[in-house]
C-alpha cells in the first residue's frame, strides 16, 4: 500500500515546527514545556504508526536542475528507526520534565531536542542521497548543541567539539561516496540519480550498480567512504572516542541520542546500503569492523569508572554487534542487525534512564561509590535486572535472541567459507564474537551489582525519584521484558506476532534481493530447543563470564594499565592532531591578527582572480573613448587626481582624511555633471557622515606612525597598483559594453505618472524620480535585501563589540 503523502510530509514538518514554537511555548508553560515536547513527539509517533503496513516513495521536488528531490521512502527499516526516534522521544521528553528541573537553558534544550527528532525522522525516511546527507548532518549539529548544553563546563565544550569533528568529517567522506554512487548510477541506470530507494533507484538495480562500480574499480572506495560515515556516526573503532565524552550531555540526551537514535543512524545506513552493496568485500569489511568494535569497546567498558561511561562503551559495543550482523551474509545476518537494533534500543534507553535516576538521587555516578541501591530504588532495580540481563545476553531476556542470531550467523559464515576451501582464519569470526561477548557479560553484571550487595558507608541518603522519571524507564523495561518473554511463549507455540511481523518487515528492508534466499517476512524467534554449536557458544560465553566475574577488579585494573599506554589510545592521536592544527606554524604566518595582512591578501587575490578571469576569457582592452569629455568634467577629475595624490603624501591623519574627502566631493560633482542628482546627493551625504565619523575616531589615533621601511612602502605601492589596474580594466570593460537598453527603456516608460490614469493604479510607478521608483517599487525586493544587510551589520557590530565580554571567554 502506498504511504499517505500528507502523513509523511507532516512527519517532517511537525517536529521542526514544534522546535520553532518552543521558545514561545516556554514563555507560557515554563518547565512544563517538557510535556508540550512530549505531545509533539506523540503526534509524530502517531504519524509513524499511521504509516505501518505501507511501502513506497513520496517525492517532493527540491532542486530539479540537479536531480535532487526530497524523496521519502517507507519500509520496515525506516519505520523501525522512525518508531524509535518518536517513541523513545515521547518517553525522553516526559523524563526530561523531572530531570531538567531547575536546569538552565531549557527552551534551547527542548527546541534542539525536537529539531534533532525531526532530523532523525528525516534520516530514517529519506530516499534521496542528498536529502539523507542533509538530515544526517543536521543530527550531528543538534547533537553538538545538546552535548555542549552546559556551556560553562570545559568538558562539555571539549566533548561537543570532538563529536562534531568526528561525525561531521565522517559525514563528508560519506558525501563523497554518495557522489561516486551518483556518478556510477549514470552509467548503470541510464541516468544519474540520487534516488536510493523506490522505483528506478539504486536499490532497485543493485546488481547493475555493483557491476558498474566493480568495473570502474570503485567498489572498495565506495564501501570505505560510506563505511566511514557509518563508523563515525555509530562510534565504531577507532572512532568510538567521541561517544564516552558525549556523556557530558544531560542524561536524557544520552538516552535519546547516544543510545536509541542518533548512533543508530550509522547502523541504519549500513542496513540500508546492505542490499545495494553486499559483496564479499562488504562481508570482510563490515564483519571485521563490527566485531573489532564489539570486542574493543566491551573491554573498555569493563575499565570504566563512571556508570555513564560504562554505558557509552557498551553502546559502541552493541552497535558493533549490529554492524557485524549486517556485515555477515544471509538472512541470519540481516535478522541479527534488525532485531538487535530494536532490542538494544529498549534495554539501553532503559539503562540510561536508570543511570540518570541513580545520578540524580544518589548524587554520584562513580561505580566504586555505588552499591546496594535496590533498598532505596526498588522499581529502578527491577528495570535494571531486566535490562542488564538482556544486555548480558542471558535467556530469556531480549538481548539473548539477537546475540544467539549473531553466533548462528557467524558460525554459518565460518563453516561455509572453510568448507568452500577458505582459510581457517574464518574461524576467527565466531571466536571473536564469543570473546567480545564475555566482556559484555562482565560489565553487564557489574552494572547490575550497583543495586545489590552492601551499600557503601559513604553513600548518603538516596531519595526516591519522581514518577515522571521512573515511569518511562519502567515502560521501556516492560517492553524489553515482553520481547524477551515472547521468545519463551514462542517456544510453547504462542508467538508474539506484532514484534515478529515488525522485525520481519525490517529484515525485508535489509536482505539482499538476489543473494539471500528465503525467509522473507517470516521472522520468528524462540528459545533453543536442541543443542547446537551456537547454543554452546552462548553457554561458553556465560560460563567463562561467570567464572571470571569474581576477579573482575583484577581484569579491570589490567585493562586500565593497557589503556594507559598512549600510542594505543585513539584519543591520544585525536588530541595530538587537534592541538597540532590549533598551534601550527602555518597559522602563525597566515593569521597575524593584523588587519593589513588580511587586506593585502584579500586585495591581491581579488585582483589576481579578476585579471585572471579576463585573461582566461580572452577579453581585449577596449579603445579609450575621449569624446563627450567636457572641460568642466576634466577639471573635476584632475582635482580628484590631485586629491588622491595628496592623500598619499599627507603628513598626518587629519590632512589625509580631509584630502580624501576632496576626492569624494569631486566624485559627487562628477555625478552632478553627469546628471545623476540622486547619486550625487547620496555621495555627498555619505561623504559627510564618513568625515564626521573619522573626526570622532581620529582623536584616539596617534598623530603619525613615523616613517615606514622602504621595502614595505614598495610592497604596498605594488599592491595598490595591482588593485588600481584591476579596477581600471574592469571599468573600461564594463562601460565599453553597450547592451540593448531594454530595461532602462522599460523603467523610463513605466516610472512616471501615466498620461491617462484613474485615481488609483498599481501598474506604473507614478513618480518623477526614476531612481527612487526603481528602488522602492520595481526593485523593492532588492532594497528589502539591502536594508536587511544593513540591519545585520548593526547586529554584528553589537555582537562583536558589545557582547564580546560574554560567552566562552570570561
Amino acid at each position: 500500500m502506498q504511504p499517505s503523502r500528507t502523513a509523511l510530509l507532516a512527519l517532517l514538518v511537525v517536529p521542526f515546527l514544534g522546535a520553532g514554537l518552543t521558545p514561545l511555548v516556554y514563555r507560557v508553560l515554563g518547565e512544563r514545556t517538557a510535556y508540550y515536547a512530549a505531545a509533539v513527539a506523540a503526534v509524530c509517533l502517531g504519524l509513524v504508526g499511521s504509516l505501518y503496513g505501507t511501502t513506497g516513495t513520496v517525492v517532493v521536488p527540491w532542486i530539479p536542475s540537479y536531480g535532487v528531490s526530497l524523496a521519502l521512502y517507507v519500509d520496515g527499516l525506516a519505520l523501525l528507526v522512525g518508531t524509535l526516534a518518536s517513541g523513545v522521544g515521547v518517553l525522553v521528553f516526559a523524563y526530561s520534565g523531572g530531570y531538567m528541573h531547575g536546569e538552565p537553558g531549557q527552551a534551547k534544550y527542548y527546541a534542539t531536542l525536537l529539531a534533532f527528532m525531526g532530523s532523525m525522522l528525516g534520516v530514517a525516511f529519506a530516499a534521496d542521497l542528498i536529502a539523507l546527507f542533509v538530515f544526517w548532518e543536521l543530527t550531528s549539529v543538534s547533537s553538538f548543541l545538546l552535548i555542549g548544553h552546559y556551556q560553562d563546563a570545559d568538558a562539555s565544550l571539549y566533548a561537543a567539539r570532538k563529536s562534531m569533528l568526528v561525525t561531521v568529517s565522517g559525514g563528508l567522506f560519506m558525501l563523497v561516496g554518495f557522489l561516486v554512487l551518483h556518478d556510477a548510477a549514470g552509467a548503470a541506470l541510464g541516468e544519474a540519480t540520487f534516488r536510493l530507494a523506490g522505483e528506478g533507484s539504486m536499490l532497485a538495480n543493485a546488481d547493475a550498480m555493483v557491476a558498474e562500480l566493480r568495473t570502474r574499480g570503485l567498489l572498495v572506495p565506495v564501501l570505505a567512504l560510506v563505511g566511514l560515515g557509518a563508523a563515525t556516526k555509530s562510534a565504531q573503532v577507532p572512532f568510538h572516542i567521541w561517544l564516552p565524552n558525549a556523556m557530558e550531555a544531560p542524561t536524557p540526551v544520552s538516552a535519546f541520542l547516544h543510545s536509541a537514535t542518533m548512533v543508530k543512524a550509522g547502523v541504519y545506513l549500513v542496513g540500508r546500503f546492505r542490499p545495494l552493496l553486499f559483496t564479499d568485500e562488504w562481508l570482510v569489511l563490515f564483519a571485521a569492523l563490527g566485531l573489532a568494535t564489539m570486542t574493543v569497546t566491551a573491554i573498555l567498558a569493563v575499565a570504566a569508572s563512571d556508570i555513564k561511561e560504562l554505558l557509552a562503551y557498551s553502546t559502541a559495543s552493541h552497535l558493533g554487534l549490529i554492524v557485524a550482523g549486517f556485515g555477515l551474509s544471509g538472512v541470519l545476518g540481516a535478522e541479527t542487525g534488525a532485531f538487535h537494533i530494536l532490542n538494544h534500543a529498549l534495554f539501553k534507553a532503559a539503562l540510561f534512564l536508570v543511570a540518570g535516576i541513580v545520578a540524580h538521587e544518589a548524587g554520584t555516578r562513580a561505580i566504586d561509590d555505588l552499591g546496594g541501591l535496590y533498598r532505596d530504588l526498588p522499581v529502578t532495580a527491577a528495570v535494571t535486572v531486566v535490562a542488564a540481563l538482556g544486555m548480558a545476553g542471558l535467556p530469556p531476556f531480549n538481548g539473548f535472541y539477537s546475540k544467539e542470531l549473531l553466533f548462528h550467523a557467524a558460525w554459518e559464515v565460518a563453516t561455509e567459507a572453510v568448507a568452500g576451501g577458505g582459510s581457517p582464519l574464518w574461524w576467527l569470526i565466531p571466536a571473536v564474537a564469543v570473546f567480545g561477548s564475555v566482556f559484555t557479560f562482565l560489565y553487564s553484571i557489574r552494572f547490575l551489582m550497583l543495586f545489590f550487595g552492601e551499600k557503601p558507608e559513604a553513600l548518603g541518603e538516596v531519595h526516591s525519584p519522581p514518577v515522571a522519571m521512573t515511569a518511562p524507564a519502567a515502560l521501556l523495561g516492560a517492553l524489553a521484558l515482553a520481547v524477551g518473554l515472547g521468545g519463551v511463549t514462542a517456544t510453547a507455540g504462542v508467538h508474539l506476532a506484532p514484534v515478529e511481523a515488525f522485525v520481519g518487515s525490517v529484515v525485508d528492508g535489509t536482505v539482499v534481493a538476489a543473494g539471500d534466499h528465503g525467509g522473507h517476512g517470516n521472522f520468528s524467534y524462540h528459545l533453543p530447543t536442541k543443542v547446537t554449536p551456537y547454543l554452546l557458544m552462548s553457554a561458553l560465553t556465560v560460563g567463562v563470564g561467570a567464572a571470571a566475574y569474581p576477579s573482575f577488579d583484577r581484569i579491570r585494573d589490567g585493562v586500565r594499565a593497557v589503556r594507559a599506554v598512549d600510542p594505543l589510545r585513539p584519543n591520544w592521536y585525536y588530541d595530538g592532531t587537534v592541538h597540532g592544527l590549533d598551534r601550527s606554524a602555518a597559522i602563525d604566518i597566515v593569521q597575524t591578527g593584523q588587519l593589513r595582512t588580511y587586506v593585502v591578501a584579500l586585495s591581491l587575490v581579488t585582483a589576481a582572480l579578476t585579471l585572471g578571469a579576463y585573461a582566461a576569457a580572452g577579453t581585449g582592452l577596449p579603445a579609450l573613448v575621449a569624446a563627450g569629455l567636457e572641460p568642466a568634467l576634466v577639471v573635476v577629475l584632475l582635482v580628484a587626481v590631485v586629491g588622491a595624490v595628496a592623500v598619499g603624501a599627507a603628513p598626518s591623519h587629519i590632512a589625509g582624511v580631509l584630502t580624501l574627502s576632496i576626492v569624494g566631493f569631486m566624485v559627487a560633482i562628477f555625478y552632478i555633471l553627469a546628471s545623476a542628482p540622486d547619486l550625487a546627493l547620496t555621495q555627498l551625504v555619505v561623504e559627510t557622515l564618513v568625515l564626521v565619523i573619522f573626526l570622532l575616531v581620529l582623536d584616539k589615533l596617534p598623530a603619525f606612525y613615523g616613517s615606514i621601511p622602504r621595502l614595505r612602502a614598495l610592497r604596498d605601492g605594488l599592491v595598490a597598483l595591482a588593485v588600481g589596474a584591476t579596477v581600471t580594466v574592469t571599468v573600461l570593460l564594463s562601460t565599453a559594453a553597450t547592451p540593448e537598453d531594454v530595461i532602462a527603456a522599460y523603467f523610463v516608460e513605466n516610472a512616471p505618472v501615466p498620461a491617462e490614469h484613474g485615481p488609483v493604479f498599481v501598474d506604473a510607478g507614478g513618480g518623477g524620480n526614476i531612481v527612487n521608483v526603481i528602488l522602492v517599487d520595481f526593485r523593492a525586493f532588492d532594497t528589502l535585501g539591502e536594508i536587511s544587510v544593513v540591519a545585520m551589520a548593526a547586529l554584528s557590530v553589537v555582537t562583536l563589540v558589545a557582547m564580546r565580554e560574554r560567552g566562552e571567554v570570561r
Binding site: T682, V685, L689, V692, V762, N769, L784, A791, L795
Partner: protein, 161 residues
C-alpha cells in the same frame, strides 16, 4: 566619557553652530524623505543625513548628552547592549524592517505580488488641488528607519569604545 569623546572641550562656536544646524539637517532629511518619489531624495539619503545630525551631537556634546538631556534619564551602563539607547536604536531598525516587509505583505493580502506598490490621487485637496500618495512612501519610511537605527547603533557602540 560623560565629558564627551574628545579630550578637549569643543569651542563655543562649535556648540552654537551645532545647536543651529542639527534642526535644519533634520528638517532637510524629512523633506528629502517625503519628496523622494518625485524629486531627488529618498529613504536612504534621508536616513544617512539624520545619522549625520546625531553624529554631530555625539561629537560636540558627548555620548551621554542625548540620554540625559532629551530623555531625562541617567545612562546606566554606557552602551550595554541589553539596556539604554542602543536597545532603542535596535527597536528602530527592527521596526523599520517590519514596516518595509509588512507593507509588502499588505500587497499580498490585497491579492498582488509581494511588495507591489500602488499610487493614489486625491482631487480637491486644499492648497494642493491634486495630491498624490504612493504606497512606496511606507516602504521608504521602513528604509529610513532601518538606516537610521542601524547606523546609530554602529555609531553608538563603536563610539563608546
Amino acid at each position: 566619557m560623560s565629558g564627551g569623546s574628545l579630550d578637549r572641550e569643543p569651542t563655543v562656536i562649535a556648540r552654537t553652530v551645532t545647536r543651529l544646524v542639527v534642526p535644519v539637517i533634520l528638517v532637510t532629511a524629512v523633506a528629502l524623505l517625503l519628496q523622494g518619489h518625485n524629486l531627488p531624495g529618498g529613504g536612504f539619503i534621508a536616513g544617512v543625513l539624520t545619522t549625520t545630525a546625531f553624529a554631530l551631537i555625539y561629537i560636540i556634546y558627548g555620548l551621554d548628552y542625548l540620554e540625559t538631556e532629551l530623555l531625562h534619564r541617567r545612562p546606566t551602563v554606557p552602551f550595554g547592549t541589553g539596556t539604554g539607547i542602543v536597545r532603542e536604536y535596535g527597536n528602530v531598525f527592527a521596526a523599520g524592517l517590519a514596516v518595509a516587509g509588512g507593507g509588502g505583505l499588505a500587497a499580498v493580502a490585497l491579492g498582488f505580488p509581494f511588495l507591489t506598490q500602488g499610487v493614489a490621487f486625491f482631487e480637491g485637496v486644499p492648497v494642493y488641488h491634486e495630491f498624490e500618495i504612493a504606497s512606496a512612501v511606507v516602504f521608504d519610511l521602513g528604509v529610513y528607519a532601518v538606516v537610521v537605527g542601524a547606523l546609530l547603533t554602529i555609531l553608538a557602540v563603536v563610539g563608546a569604545e
